[in-house]
């Protein structure tokens, strides 16, 4: 770890902070239904054309219809994607002659990409044709973050007492006003940095030592841009952004980090704007940034200390732990990327998380378990707002007042829905992990405590819709395909429904004027309570599993 590499990380964080507010204000304007916006004049004509072709009526939906539109449309799309994957072998654009996906793998992959998880139990080079990659997977990588953005906008509208809006209008706006333009520009930037964008089949060359080498390539740049921007994370190539084609330099690595953080760090400010007080959003932004910086510090310290077992061999180990890492990133940019990709629930990797030192691997795991350190596109911030409501509720209990959030009373009905939502995540992680360890121990590749972490990581990543993996796991079989498929589906859609119900219930309440006794939600005090609640709930839920996995492994090294 050199001074220069620390400065690089600080500069990256500064850029993230500088972008958050302007992008947040843009998002608030982009999803504003008022007619006066200049954005409506720019994007209106194209959008109205899409509405006409799609048969979308620009009318407000009830909360139930909004939720139903979201779930139904996503379910239909999952089914269509499943069909293409099952029959990719007979469809065009398949120069490598890749066969059809088998049913459980196609089931897993279709859910995985629509649920913004992009857990991949196939390898891009040999498991998906150019058609599958460039059409259905790219399609899902656009639609799933757009769905997340629609959700968060509807949720904020509910908290601020407005109607839900229209799901299809939100979906299209997310595409035309945010995802497509940014993805297009960044895809071209990636090409100039060396990422291929070609429909030519793999190149076969004779190496300097006379061997034959087949070099897989493809339309990678367009895939990569939306993978990072949409917090998707699924790689075109098997090893994701560790592959030199998918992340050729320190510069492309920087752009990927910025894209992952772009929307999710802006949402607190969009929320502040929509709630009529930027300070409401800023306190949440700062709280999450503090957790992110602490996580980064822990991860960097662990990775730069290296693996004591290898260091004991007497080699020069100033580079820290280099197993599973690429030289162009070194240990700092690799560790930093692992923190960002799990904070923003993207799941792209530029280092193999399975090879991280135990504490270095605990940080990504903790990010996904908390699922509130910014979090994935839209859904992450909805989760954050849920914790903010819990913080208000608990503070209210302590002083014996009816808690209020943005002037609306938090009562039994909302808290029941939130309690259910809170319980879904540990249930989806811990129960399947136990089942997997008991019934399928042969699929776990590393011995000892690390084996438990492998299974725990896989389900945590699925439930948090992250999608990174401890790749040592033999997960390309029916048990893992089906079980993680179900966990990903429930992890995404159950909480969407319960939280939309919370928003609908709050929207219907009469606002009460703020008084001197109101617990303010825009102060540093509230930020501290919020961070405390997040950490306590996370620790109470997952501490035992974490002790048995990474912490035990660290102690035995």
């Amino acid at each position: 770890m050199t001074t220069l590499s620390i400065i690089a990380i600080l500069v990256t964080l500064l850029i993230v902070v500088a972008l958050a507010k302007p992008v947040g204000l843009y998002l608030a304007a982009a999803f504003d239904y008022g007619s006066g916006s200049r954005l409506n004049r720019v994007f209106g004509p194209v959008e109205r054309l899409i509405y006409r072709i799609g048969g979308i009526r620009e009318e407000n939906q009830s909360w139930k219809t909004y939720a139903a539109s979201l779930i139904c449309s996503n379910a239909v799309m999952i089914f269509l994607i499943y069909l293409v994957l099952r029959f990719q072998g007979m469809l065009p654009l398949n120069p490598a002659g890749i066969p059809n996906m088998e049913p459980s793998l196609a089931f897993n992959t279709a859910i995985s990409f629509m649920a913004n998880t992009d857990l991949q139990h196939y390898s891009g080079e040999s498991g998906a044709s150019y058609l599958s990659q460039a059409s259905v997977l790219v399609f899902a990588m656009f639609v799933s973050p757009a769905t997340g953005l629609a959700l968060v906008m509807a949720f904020i509208r509910g908290l601020t007492g407005k109607g839900a809006g229209n799901f299809f209008v939100d979906l299209i706006r997310a595409l035309t006003r945010v995802l497509l333009p940014v993805a297009f520009v960044s895809a071209l930037l990636f090409v100039f940095m060396g990422v291929p964008q070609t429909f030519e089949p793999a190149a076969t060359v004779t190496t300097l030592e006379g061997a034959q080498q087949t070099i897989a390539r493809g339309p990678i740049a367009s895939f990569l841009a939306i993978k990072e921007l949409g917090n998707n994370g699924g790689g075109f190539l098997g090893v994701n952004s560790a592959h030199p084609f998918e992340n050729p330099s320190g510069l492309s690595n920087l752009l990927q980090i910025l894209l992952m953080m772009l929307v999710t760090t802006a949402l607190p400010f969009a929320y502040g704007k929509m709630a009529g007080s930027i300070k409401q959003g800023r306190v949440l932004f700062v709280s999450m940034l503090v957790i992110l910086i602490v996580m980064t510090g822990i991860s960097l310290t662990a990775e730069s200390a290296g693996n004591p077992v290898l260091n004991a061999l007497g080699v020069q180990h100033a580079q820290g732990s280099m197993e599973g890492k690429e030289v162009r990133f070194g240990e700092t940019q690799s560790a930093f990327y692992s923190v960002i990709t799990t904070a923003a629930e993207t799941g792209a990797v530029n280092t193999m998380h399975d090879t991280l030192t135990p504490i270095g691997g605990l940080v990504p795991l903790a990010n996904m378990m908390l699922n509130t350190v910014f979090g994935g596109m839209g859904v992450g911030f909805v989760n954050v707002l849920m914790y903010a409501i819990i913080a208000v509720f608990l503070s209210g209990l302590m002083v014996g007042r009816t808690p209020e959030f943005l002037g609306r009373k938090i009562e039994g009905k909302e808290m029941k829905l939130i309690a259910v939502t809170l319980l879904i995540q540990p249930f989806l992680i811990l129960v399947p992990t136990a089942i997997a360890l008991a019934t399928h121990p042969e699929t776990i590749s590393n011995p000892g405590f690390h084996g438990l972490t492998q299974a725990l990581y896989e389900y945590t990543s699925s439930a948090a819709n992250n999608g990174s993996g401890f790749e040592g796991l033999s997960d390309a079989n029916t048990f893992w395909n089906v079980s993680t498929g179900i966990v990903m589906f429930l992890g995404r859609y159950l909480s969407m429904v319960t939280l939309l119900a919370v928003a609908g219930s709050l929207a219907a309440k009469k606002p009460i004027p703020e008084s001197s006794g109101t617990f303010r939600t825009d102060t540093a005090m509230f930020g501290a309570v919020f961070v405390g609640i997040v950490l306590i709930v996370g620790a109470l839920t997952f501490f035992p599993a974490v002790v048995l996995g990474p912490i035990a492994e660290q102690l035995t090294l």
């Binding site: 040999s126 367009s222 098997g238 077992v309 080699v315």
Partner: protein, 189 residues
């Protein structure tokens, strides 16, 4: 029912825009503006034959070439990915010890304490095209002895193929092994 009908029509519309228009637009601009990079940064030797990609590592085992990093997939660029060893996995130590004893046999003049750790660890992709400058430096005595190229000349080649940090700040300096070895091959003749 209306939702499903709207979904089907909207899906089709989005598919046309996001899959066809978006992919092809990126492709068209990329192929027009940077065709070499867009097709995989392939590089040719002096005779004009394609010998690999600037971005993809190759397996080098002959003592007259600089060696790259350990690759558990032996640089098979048709299917990246690498069986990973956790830090506590005994197989990791075994593999690293094998790398080190091979190193000692080939480079008797260079003590183990000077060997940087990137030479005995598996890269993330199994296709890492680069090594650290220190990892190139420690191989200079061996390559010089086998090829007859002077050590100073080899150091100059290393400096030529060392890529610094992006914008002087992001990432780590690294030496491109294939480009370096192309120079070595040319100078040998």
């Amino acid at each position: 029912m209306r939702i499903i009908w709207v979904t089907l029509r909207t899906t089709l519309t989005i598919a046309v825009v996001c899959c066809i228009v978006y992919n092809l637009a990126v492709w068209a601009v990329a192929q027009a503006a940077a065709p070499d990079k867009a097709n995989g940064s392939l590089i040719k030797n002096a005779e004009g034959q394609v010998v690999g990609s600037k971005l993809i590592g190759q397996s080098f085992t002959e003592p007259g070439y600089f060696h790259g990093r350990v690759s558990s997939i032996d640089y098979d660029a048709n299917g990246s990915g690498s069986p990973n060893y956790a830090p506590s996995n005994p197989e990791l130590l075994k593999r690293a010890e094998e790398s080190l004893s091979a190193w000692k046999a080939e480079n008797p003049d260079v003590p183990v304490s000077e060997v940087p750790i990137d030479l005995i660890t598996n890269s993330g992709s199994g296709l890492d095209p680069q090594i650290s400058p220190q990892a190139a430096e420690v191989q200079v005595p061996r390559v010089s002895k086998v090829t007859g190229i002077s050590e100073d000349e080899l150091r100059k080649m290393i400096a030529d193929h060392t890529q610094g940090r992006s914008l002087g700040l992001f990432g780590e300096p690294a030496v491109n092994v294939l480009e370096l070895n192309l120079d070595v091959q040319a100078a040998r003749k």
